[in-house]
């Protein structure tokens, strides 16, 4: 091929989103949910792994602190057998290396109080924010500054809907949900979350039948504007499937296989996905409610699947009503039965992408435009690709 022809070639989408394909361990320098507030009581210690970072969380005098969950001495996880000897430290249960909660500096060694390491060695800490009953940790490079606000790593506020769903960070909201382990890479989970073509796995789900909801067999982009890019200045970046417009066509039947979607109640459930991989489904599982999902990378083969419902709630009576709906309708039918099908699909994709060269072997079709757009947007706006832990956990360089 002549040089002049090369120079005017159109760049393939897969080259544009190459950094996304590199992000096996997730994106870094971003806020991820670590635990529900109620999972970490006063003086509690819990260990979590996010994007390969082992992190110990401790609540002391109401405030949550996050430290690297590896003692500098022999590398054991301190969360395996929590030991808290003072209100402002976390001790390692093995030899008593004791670290300050706020700075990670070695304050004492229980059995070596005059040790020269004291005050010199430290383990890294992580920024923590607790909002809406969820503990968020900023996972990534310790030196990253300035910290982005939590709002930048959240779904956008909906402003183009008269009956707009609530935002997680609003006042007077009801927030409840679950999280569980997904046995697939985080990207397969993200791409399942907003996939316009995957409604097929939901067409016979209990919630669809019970609420007579008109969901379709799938949704196909047929006009410009089907996929909107979210690019708020200093705010969320991602994509939105504009199901509330005529740019998407709902496929209700396929005569070739004599298949027809049921349901008469038509209420759009618009989906959007923002970095680092947060799904918002509007008006789901019921009009006026919003479902949020995170797919927090644990390692390159597992993610923590967070499913949260957000609704407006101004008083105790509304809270009791929401609890009734959550316990008897939303969690069993939406978060469990409906989303179990999604979890199944993501785990079914895993071996193709893990063992094979899935990212280069897949054959995407018309409704995958949203997937390609998401990959390109993620490649452009992420705050860094997480290195595998062999690199970021390597021992001190002087060794």
């Amino acid at each position: 091929m002549a040089a002049s022809e090369r120079s005017s070639s159109v760049i393939s989408a897969s080259r544009l989103y190459a950094p996304y394909v590199e992000a096996d361990w997730g994106f870094k320098n971003t806020w991820y949910p670590a635990l529900f507030s109620h999972e970490l009581g006063e003086n509690g210690v819990r260990g979590v792994t996010m994007a390969g970072h082992d992190i110990a969380l401790r609540r002391s005098r109401g405030k949550v602190f996050a430290l690297r969950d590896r003692c500098a001495h022999r590398g054991v996880k301190m969360s395996l057998r929590p030991m808290c000897l003072t209100a402002d430290t976390l001790s390692c249960w093995y030899h008593g290396f004791t670290y300050g909660l706020d700075d990670g500096v070695l304050k004492t060694i229980v059995a070596s109080p005059d040790d020269p390491l004291i005050g010199k060695v430290r383990i890294r800490t992580y920024p923590v924010m607790e909002r809406a009953g969820i503990i968020f940790v900023f996972v990534g490079d310790e030196e990253f500054a300035p910290l982005p606000p939590l709002e930048a790593d959240m779904p956008i506020r909906i402003t183009d809907d008269a009956n707009a769903v609530a935002h997680l960070l609003d006042e007077n909201v009801y927030v409840r949900g679950i999280h569980r382990t997904g046995n697939s890479n985080w990207r397969l989970a993200v791409e399942n979350g907003f996939d316009p073509g995957h409604l097929l796995i939901h067409w016979d789900n209990q919630i669809v039948a019970a609420t007579d909801r008109k969901l379709g067999l799938g949704v196909e982009p047929i006009a410009e504007g089907a996929i909107k890019i979210i690019d708020e200045p200093d705010g969320p970046k991602g994509i939105m499937n504009m199901y509330n417009t005529r740019a998407y066509k709902f496929i209700m039947e396929n005569k070739a296989v004599n298949m027809r979607a049921r349901g008469k109640n038509s209420y759009y459930a618009r989906t959007s996905m923002v970095l680092p991989g947060i799904l918002l489904v509007e008006h789901w599982p019921a009009p006026g409610w919003a479902q949020y999902e995170w797919y927090v990378p644990t390692d390159d083969k597992h993610h923590e699947y967070w499913e949260i419902l957000v609704g407006r709630c101004r008083n105790e009576e509304e809270r009791r009503e929401a609890d009734y709906l959550y316990d008897n309708f939303f969690e069993p039918l939406a978060l469990r039965d409906f989303n179990d099908n999604d979890l199944f699909a993501r785990e079914a994709m895993q071996d193709f992408y893990e063992r094979g060269d899935g990212w280069n072997q897949e054959s995407l079709c018309a409704f995958d435009a949203a997937t390609i757009t998401w990959r390109k947007v993620a490649a452009r706006f992420n705050r860094g690709i997480q290195e595998p832990p062999e690199l970021h956990n390597s021992p001190q360089s002087q060794r």
């Binding site: 040089a3 090369r6 760049i11 390491l117 430290r122």
Partner: protein, 353 residues
Amino acid sequence: MPTQITSTPPPAAAANVHRVTLRFEDGVEKEIEAGADEFVLDAALRQGVPLVYQCRSGSCSTCVGQMVSGTLAMVRDRALSLIASEIAEGKRLLCSSHALAPSVVRLHYPSTLIYADARGNFEARVAGVEWPALSVAKLAIALERRAGFSFHAGQYVRIKVPGTGQWRSYSMCSTPRDLPKMEFLVRIIPGGAMSEYLRAAREGERLQIEGPLGAFILHPGTGLHVFVAGGTGLAPILAMMDEIRHASGPKPKMLLSFGCASDKTFFYRDEIELRKWWIPQLSVRLSADRVEDPASGLIEGTPVDALGTEAISDPQAAAYVSGPPPMIEAARRRLAELGMSPERIYAERFVAS
């Protein structure tokens, strides 16, 4: 990752101070002054000679050295991890030893272990040759052993052209994070030693490199980064842009002005388009001295012409200029006219050979 908080030990008292020679595995010697009231390790660190160490309390043996001559006495009020026979052989823990006489200590690691910037010779193999344009080759090599070699984006190495006794210098267009793979852009010159070699180069062939060399590196700063590159002078600029792309934290605004001799020989357009997508802070001007096809979309002129005449108002701005010497001189003049101070203009000269 456990990280040491560095503290500055007190300066040595003038009395009882002796010269200690530190002899590294690679033959490099460093001399320090150490007295009876300061540990040898502390004295070395204080005088800017980094050594390998860890616990600083005599427990881990990381800082062990072999006494060749002189007298290094270890303290007695610590439990030391050396056994008696090792001490008898002259092994000493530098974190717990005082110099009582002029001494020479041999260390078991090369100075390059810590002096990553020190140059050395390394074996590599050809990993591939691509032709982005008729007059430009991209040479990829892989180091045989990664250990001991590191560099800063923007630096170069000398490559011994296989089958000849000739050495040629090329800037890496890859970044340190791509090691042990390294990539170079080579301008093809009829009859040139490397040019002739690359036409017939085979994957897996061995070659020797020396480096890293050069001081054309990124300087800290959050102001506008102006990159001006001509021809294969693009190589170190690409490495710098990719280094910034992978760095943590907010990215500076960047402007790349890149030009080639003609639109027919213009290369790496898609590589630049990719970076425009990956780095939202980057804007790009592409030019060619001669533009025959207006549909190419290239600005006619040099990359210095393409900078335009709009003043650079950011007082924190820095410029990185890479290309043939006349282009560098023109860029210096133009950037000064646009308001940049000369000491914030860094340049790398490319001379065809």
